[in-house]
């Protein structure tokens, strides 16, 4: 079965995660994706490399693509892009603002060669505004967007801590870029019109906090304004990051403390468990499995007021009871008991062991690939299925300069022309490397 994007051709100038992951998803859905790198290669090749220029990160974020090396500082290298682009449907780039213009691979330059091109540019802060020119990375978007302070994580030095070792803003930007490209392909199919799409890490990070960043004056008067006033007061007297978090956390704990009784982790007799209740029926199921009696936990009663004096003590008292029950039995037994009543609960797994998890195997999420330099590998495949056009991982990540000749010849260059471009340094790796 062909993929949904069967026959669609994509050229990408991408690095690290946000751009490359978008290319992976387009490839998974059937597009023919060609990655352009400089002779130095995507910076990701050097992060945790296990063979020269080959890292696990690069392999997972570039599977399913062909790779070529072009020197985009060289007008002859730029000319190669201009020749290729007339046969492409999509161009994808994540570089600092201004770089595409400098290399003559900006939207205006490329659409001159392909009027209905779909051009996607991902940057840290977006194309306009006071921070548009600034350097960015996922951790910067986490900090700038409020994700980090919102999670109130403090490291051992009192500094802010990453919310997660993964890169949420990068991933959301990659997914939104792919959505926009698919929507633009649909629009082009209906109207014949191409277009430019802009995405940013900042917008991606804000999406993840949709519910918190919104302004709803009627609600905010009760819940949010006191937090903002508290923050302003601490800032006024020059309080530390930890004190600022304290000012924010107090009220938040009060409003949300009861919710997190059943949406958070506990220790068991042999490890740990996570509860994920979002509704009153879920919480009732947990109370039932734990053997809590009506009256043991008043937090779901209609007359419980989370903002009233004494509510913190009530929540703490319920938490102590729940902790005590969980500590009395094993994770396996608790998960079985909670499953039996239909309550959402899970053991806490280790990421490196997920590959052998029976549920992961049952769903066929992992795919087997063969890398030309480093051999067999297994990694996370497409995260969703489509019944008529199933997405599938097409192959391993390209070695640097792996497919340059093949691609050039496919797009009309003769063997002599390729050799000439190589010797002038416009394409391929320098001969001494």
């Amino acid at each position: 079965m062909p993929g949904a994007l069967d026959g669609i051709k994509v050229l990408e100038v991408t690095q690290i995660i946000a751009g490359p992951m978008c290319g992976v998803m387009l490839s998974d859905m059937g597009a023919d994706v060609i990655k352009i790198e400089s002779a130095a290669g995507d910076g990701m090749r050097l992060l945790g490399q296990f063979a020269p220029g080959e890292s696990k990160g690069f392999h997972v974020f570039n599977r399913g693509k062909r790779g070529m090396v072009l020197n985009l500082q060289d007008p002859d290298g730029q000319a190669v892009v201009q020749k290729l682009i007339s046969e492409m449907d999509v161009f994808l780039i994540n570089a600092r603002p201004g770089v595409p213009e400098r290399l003559s691979i900006d939207y205006e330059s490329l659409r001159a060669h392909k009027p209905d091109l779909i051009y996607l540019e991902n940057t840290a802060y977006g194309p306009t505004g006071p921070s548009a020119h600034r350097a960015g990375a996922d951790i910067i978007a986490q900090a700038y967007s409020g994700l980090m302070a919102g999670d109130e994580k403090v490291d051992e030095h009192g500094g802010p801590d990453l919310i997660t070792a993964t890169t949420p803003a990068d991933f959301v930007a990659a997914f939104t870029s792919t959505i926009a490209i698919c929507a633009a392909l649909f629009h082009r199919e209906r109207t014949g019109e191409g277009q430019k799409i802009d995405t940013s890490l900042l917008a991606g990070a804000l999406v993840l906090q949709n519910a918190f960043t919104s302004r709803l004056p009627v609600s905010d008067a009760i819940m949010l304004d006191p937090i903002l006033n508290g923050l302003a007061a601490v800032r006024e007297r020059g309080g530390s990051y930890r004190e600022l978090l304290g000012a924010r956390g107090g009220l938040r704990a009060l409003v949300g403390g009861a919710f997190f009784l059943y949406y958070g982790g506990y220790q068991t007799s042999d490890g740990a468990i996570m509860l994920g209740c979002v509704t009153p029926p879920n919480r009732q199921q947990v109370r039932e499995a734990l053997g809590l009696q009506p009256g043991d936990d008043p937090t779901d009663d209609g007359d419980f007021n989370a903002l009233a004096d004494g509510s913190e003590e009530i929540v703490a008292h319920v938490r102590a009871q729940i902790s005590e029950r969980f500590a009395s039995d094993t994770t396996e037994n608790w998960v079985a008991k909670l499953d039996a009543v239909g309550a959402p609960a899970s053991q806490v797994n280790i990421p490196e062991e997920m590959i052998d998890d029976p549920q992961v195997q049952a769903l066929g999420i992992m795919v087997d690939l063969e890398h030309p330099l480093t051999g067999p590998e297994q990694m996370v495949g497409p995260p969703f299925n489509m019944s008529a056009t199933p997405p599938q991982a097409k192959g391993a990540a390209p070695p640097l300069d792996g497919d340059t000749n093949e691609v050039l010849i496919e797009y009309g260059y003769s063997a002599e022309e390729v050799a000439a471009l190589r010797s002038s340094g416009a394409v391929g790796l320098p001969s001494d490397s």
Binding site: I140, A143, L206, F212, S214, P217, G276, I355, Q359, N385
Partner: protein, 426 residues
Amino acid sequence: MPGPLDGIKVLELTQIIAGPYCGVALADLGADVVKLESPVGDASRKIAQFAPGESKAFHALNRGKRGLVINLATTEGQAVAHQLIPHFDVFVTNVRPGVADRIGMDYDTLRQIRSDLIYFDVTGFGDRGPSAHRAGSDAMVQAYSGLVAGDLKVGPDGAPEQITASAPSDYIAALGGAMGVCAALFHRERTGEGQRISGTLLGAGLALQTPWVADVPVSDSILLEPLRRMMTEMRVSGASYAEMIEARRSRPNQGKAFRIYYSGYPVKDGAIILGALTPQNRDQIRTALEITNDPTDNDDFNAIGPDADAIVARVEEQIKAKLASGTMTEWIRKLDAAGAPASPVNWMEDMPDDPQVAAMNLMRPVEHPLTGPERHVGPLVNMSKTATGTSRPAPPLDAETDDILREHGFSDEMIASLRETGAVGA
């Protein structure tokens, strides 16, 4: 300017985040999205409600939609839903596995009614495998997929903690669904064929950790296999969660040197984040901070060698002392001037009025019929030829049921009698 999905009609039977946010993404791209709720309403209406049945989360995750109440527990209600289906291009749902079949809203039933329907369903763990039947929510999948342990999250009492107050697997699943729907619309436009798209929170959680979950044997024999052996041995010996996380934290790790320039530090009046990814970025930071004796980027530095931890700790100490001597504004100015990635740590509550957010027009105003003016995080992307974004708020429960039914061929008499029997309306 019409949106790219202009004229596309979406019916969603969704709750909480994963289904609803998919609907928001489609609405922002121009689709006409109708949210189908039971008479009780989506449970997220009641999470921190500020007016009866109205919460900030519900408003943010359901803007841009119209609302319809049908009681799908009744056969009359199911018949109404089935009469609507021919008018819709896309159906989105995130009910528990088995529920769609029970209420006649599964793919096989609906495709009999509209053969080129695009049907997206997202569940916690999928429709097969040992966990297929299990309830799923984001916190659970954070734990199940390895995100919680991978982030070494331990609370003050030794219990695991969520990695974030946000819901990363829910959002990624929602976005994956919107992507699948757009690709399927493109495929339908080319071939006339509809299809089912299915996603899981588990798959979304794993997608967020692709480098850690991957098996690349040549690489893994050095770093990953010893870790897996250690975890297994500790588990057999009955180690606690907190002990296992501590062992994991202190193992040799190539990433520790990377982390000194990809981390947060206190400054005089708050905190700052450094986000260096490349040796050039780190040089820019060293220049701005006047750090001269850091060997961690030298070719002969061995990140898993015996002295590595001590060297990394010493450099980290220097950076920390340096940054503590200046204010946030001073350091951001110096690091920006050097071209290095750095940011103040902002508060999410302040973001709607941030100048960059305003310049990018990322917050969009809507007017809610019950609770007045609001501003929400706007569309995911800007597109030069097709509009994105919405000016419609989240629907109050049952506010538009009659309009929507009338628009799809129900007479006023039929609607009145359906309301009478409780098949539609709250």
